[in-house]
Amino acid sequence: MITSTLETVPDKTIIEHLGIVQGSTVRAKHIGRDIMAGLKNIVGGELQGYTELLSEARDEAFERMIEQATAKGANAVINVRFSTSSVTQGASEILAYGSAVIVE
């Protein structure tokens, strides 16, 4: 599966557009991490726990998007976008979406 944020896949032609594919997930870290992050907030710096949380969630959202593209019979997803939102405090929602295409 080719994935790209570009409009096109270099050296390849898009033969067919199959519509939008999206993957999303909602995740939270355990409460201990939240408390540690609260303490870390005082001194500042990277919140390792949350970086990890968001990166894991992004991986999963991306995989789900690929799963949809595979189900559609696509071999590439172009114009991929990520979007992050937080539904409630301490939880984050990651969305990955793009255009499923068949390239040659």
């Binding site: 033969i15 557009h17 993957g23 409460i31 789900r64 949809q68 189900a71």
Partner: protein, 287 residues
């Protein structure tokens, strides 16, 4: 270039799970986690409280009582009664193993309640209702020695430390208010804390009895207080409930334990009754 829409199968972005099973597992887990955390906080807090330097406890008590001292009732109450009670307390504490910086200060409370209690910094409070119901100094000395033993054993500090840390932990983790935590501790379900404080009660009984035996040469009247209590309870609280539900060990059991301890140590159960100081005999429970 062709453009067509292909249907996506369901359930890629929504994971399969069983919500009801999830609910039960998570609820049980949360209760278990918070109970463990709470118990840990209580244990560490009491341990810390017990081994806090006595001077710290005194400073804390001074700060608390500074506020209380403005209370009209406390200051205008009979100095004479307090002096008489203080004399008894001083005699008892001379025969007890008190921490170096602990000074026992007795206060008198003009209310009809058969009770006495110790608070931070060695402040012991005695109610009028208790004094009016005891026939001689020996019975009063037993309960006062018991409370002084609580202060000497640092039970009060342990209690305060445990509760404070519990409030802090539950407040941070679940956002519970101090009132909710108090409800948990003193509510009907606080079996653990009761077990915890029952051990302290038994120890205070033992230390108190020892002090009484050393001071008066006999332990007559020591159990008299509990018999008075038993009588009173016999009228108002017929059923004390199973033992583990009570903060204080069952009164009957306490009398039996004290008798056994006295026999073991060879303390005589009868001896001359020391009369109460005159200021104390004049008190009327119904007043």
């Amino acid at each position: 270039m062709k453009i067509r829409n292909v249907k996506v199968p369901e359930g890629i972005n929504v994971s399969r799970h069983r919500p009801v099973a999830d609910l039960f597992v998570l609820t049980a887990g949360a209760i278990g986690l918070f109970a463990t955390l709470g118990l840990l906080a209580l244990l560490i807090g009491s341990y810390g409280g017990r081994y806090l330097p006595m001077s710290w406890e005194n400073a804390l008590a001074a700060a608390v009582f500074e506020v209380g001292e403005t209370d009209e009732e406390v200051t205008t109450n009979n100095r004479e009664i307090e002096t008489a009670l203080q004399a008894i307390a001083d005699r008892l504490s001379a025969n007890m193993d008190l921490p170096e910086d602990l000074r026992i200060t007795v206060h008198y409370l003009d209310e009809d309640e058969i009770n006495a209690f110790a608070t931070l910094g060695g402040h012991v409070f005695v109610y009028r209702g208790l004094i009016a119901r005891v026939a001689d100094e020996n019975a009063l000395a037993m309960i006062m020695a018991h409370e002084i033993a609580h202060a000497a054993n640092r039970d009060v500090a342990a209690n305060v430390g445990g509760v404070l840390l519990l409030q802090l932990v539950l407040g941070t983790v679940v956002g519970a208010s101090p009132e909710t935590v108090d409800g948990l501790i003193w509510g009907p379900n606080a079996l653990l804390l009761r077990q915890f404080s029952r051990d302290a009660e038994t120890r205070a009984d033992r230390d108190g009895l020892t002090a009484v035996a050393t001071t008066y040469g006999h332990v007559a009247g020591a159990d008299r207080f509990f018999r008075i209590l038993l009588n009173e309870l016999g009228e108002s609280v017929p059923d004390e409930g199973p033992e583990f539900l009570n903060t204080h060990p069952l009164t009957v059991k306490r009398i039996a334990d004290l008798g056994a301890l006295a026999r073991k140590r060879g303390w005589t159960l009868d001896g001359p009754a020391t009369p109460l100081p005159r200021v104390l005999t004049a008190l009327d429970p119904a007043d």
